[in-house]
């Protein structure tokens, strides 16, 4: 996407502070509709989740004050503690699985093979399916009796991937990778294309190998993209709900009951909205913290650049 009017300089822009020109600027009322929407349905719930975490509410009846009871009960119960551990494992493992694959794939696609255009079209097909659709499709595909296992006749493929407590979470992480690797490789592809070719040409004259090129030029040049992509991955794994919900609903047992599922099941299945809000607060705080860290690590200019990556 190129801007038809002017190209923004790559570095952070400094806005010219000039005269007002003719008359005053537009009325601030123009922002009112957006502020009303955002205030009422985003800021109010944000405050509300803190408030509700100190309330008793079954989702239907009256609210009553609970004090810190919800907090001690939620943080003290084994299910939620287990959910916290699972979420941590999932966040780390999703990053470990997805980042190397996305990075290599993105760099590969930024090269100039003849068939790359065709590959790129096919690589991004998974992006067109909603997480719900992917979860449901993979449930069928992983069916131990009639799924993909029969196509290859391999015994180890005919296990009950989603019904076995020790296999369910790894299986889900692989499906999540299938879903999201295309997106992250898009980011890396866009960034890798922006690395000036002259750097590689200079390295070539020095006789650098392809592996050296990758480690000494490509990786350092992609530093910011790695930070961005990792942040999205981490915040994504924290709040990941739909795919797991349709594949296992948190089971078998509590084997895939990560925090967002724990929140949903606590609130909307066990009618404990206060307890669900406690988890909500935890997710909000961690989410904001990660975003703040990202801003801190890579400078606030990151948040203000957009759309120049992928195309």
């Amino acid at each position: 996407m190129t801007n038809p009017i002017a190209r923004r300089p790559a570095a952070g822009r400094v806005r010219k502070s000039g005269g007002r020109g003719v008359g005053a600027g537009p009325s601030a009322w123009y922002a009112a509709p957006a502020l009303v929407f955002f205030g009422f349905f985003a800021l109010v719930p944000l405050i509300g989740v803190f408030v509700l975490s100190f309330m008793n509410w079954d989702g239907l009846g009256e609210l009553s004050l609970a004090g810190a009871g919800n907090w001690t009960r939620m943080l003290g119960n084994a299910t939620t503690q287990h959910a916290i551990v699972l979420t941590l494992i999932m966040t780390v493992m999703c990053w470990v699985i997805q980042t190397p694959i996305s990075l290599l794939l993105g760099v590969f696609m930024a090269g100039q093979q003849r068939y790359r255009a065709v590959l790129a079209v096919l690589y991004f097909l998974p992006l067109l399916f909603s997480a719900t659709a992917v979860g449901i499709a993979f449930t069928a595909l992983l069916d131990p009796n009639f799924g993909m296992s029969r196509a290859f006749g391999l015994d180890f493929l005919s296990r009950d991937f989603l019904g076995n407590p020790s296999l369910a979470l790894p299986t889900i992480m692989v499906v999540i990778a299938w879903c999201f690797v295309p997106f992250h490789s898009l980011l890396y592809q866009g960034a890798a294309r922006q690395i000036p070719a002259s750097i590689y040409e200079a390295a070539m004259i020095d006789g650098a190998s392809r592996v050296q090129n990758f480690f000494y030029i490509t990786l350092p040049q992609l530093r910011n993209t790695i930070i961005t992509s990792s942040t999205l991955m981490i915040t994504g794994s924290l709040t990941y709900f739909d795919l797991i919900f349709v594949m296992t609903a948190g089971g078998p047992g509590n084997a895939t009951r990560v925090l967002p599922l724990d929140m949903y099941l606590t609130g909307f299945r066990s009618y404990n909205m206060g307890g669900a809000s406690v988890i909500g607060v935890i997710l909000v705080v961690v989410g904001l913290l990660i975003a703040w860290l990202l801003n801190h690590v890579s400078g606030s200019s990151k948040m203000e650049s957009d759309m120049e990556g992928a195309l």
């Binding site: 003719v22 985003a42 093979q113 096919l122 390295a203 203000e304």
Partner: protein, 277 residues
């Protein structure tokens, strides 16, 4: 002479990896499509990756017979209404942020920036509380209003960045000709920002179209069901009829596949909107 990019020297490892990933990406999609074209009887006996011996559209007919149009229409209504509202209110807000130089407009911008970092799912309980209190539970409004609110920050950010690059002189000269801000907003700024508006529209449409948690929590009856939720219900209702379940999966993604076929570049821009370099 070894050329690096544009390769005289073939990148064997990269190429091999690229083809392996291609198989991983494409085979499941191929599986979904061929399975949805199988008869239920063949599904139990044929090799899952073989081309169906008796290809049939029975599964699709069955999905349509199960109120698919209702769910599809609900999804369209919710997506179109949400995206239209987002574009209008976000663009007006972006206009103020860029064109007026008051402390207030800067504060609005900072507030929206904060909103980008809020994980939506985490506030589902209070959103549910609000919707119930407003008497909107189990209506399409229950999906539209919160979806608009949560998409505003990122949309305002993208539009603001784009609008900043429109030369001030254009506004000034239009103003000299006696144009009001309202006229400049829609006759100058909007046409100038068309690419950004398209990107924002695609990005928000994808998110709303595929949204699952809001419909799951905020609606109940079948006539308010949207596509992602209907898939989950199909999974329960057709538990033994995998071809029908996968036909529903294909149909739910069909509009996006068509959009991708016609406008891949815009689609990719929309997918990665709001993500920095």
């Amino acid at each position: 002479m070894r050329l690096f990019r544009g390769g005289v020297r073939p990148n064997l490892i990269g190429g091999l990896f690229g083809w392996i990933w291609l198989a991983i990406a494409v085979v499941p999609i191929y599986y979904i499509i061929v399975t949805s074209l199988r008869t239920q009887a063949d599904y139990y006996v044929e090799n899952p990756l073989s081309v169906p011996t008796n290809p049939t559209l029975d599964a699709y007919i069955q999905v349509f017979a199960n109120d698919f149009w209702t769910y599809f229409l609900n999804s369209v209504i919710v997506t179109v209404a949400t995206v239209a509202a987002i574009l209008v209110v976000s663009f007006m807000a972006a206009y103020v942020i860029v064109r007026s130089r008051t402390a207030f407009s800067n504060r609005i911008f900072s507030l929206f920036l904060l909103g980008i970092a809020i994980p939506i799912q985490a506030t589902i309980v209070p959103v549910y509380y609000l919707i119930v209190q407003l008497g909107l539970y189990d209506t399409l409004w229950a999906l539209i209003l919160p979806s608009v609110a949560f998409a505003i920050p990122i949309s305002v950010l993208i539009l603001t960045n784009f609008l900043r690059d429109v030369p001030r002189e254009l506004f000034e000269s239009m103003k000299v000709d006696g144009a009001t801000d309202w006229q400049m907003l829609w006759r100058l700024a909007a046409p100038m920002c068309r690419p950004a508006l398209v990107t924002v529209a695609i990005y928000d449409a994808l998110n709303v179209w595929n949204g699952f948690l809001f419909p799951l929590v905020l609606t109940q009856s079948a006539d308010k069901r949207v596509l992602p939720l209907s898939l989950w219900n199909f999974q329960g209702a057709f538990s033994s009829n995998t071809p029908a379940i996968l036909a529903a999966v294909v149909l739910s993604a069909l509009p996006l596949i068509v959009a991708y076929a016609f406008g891949r570049r815009q689609m990719v821009a929309g997918l990665t909107a709001g993500v920095g370099k």
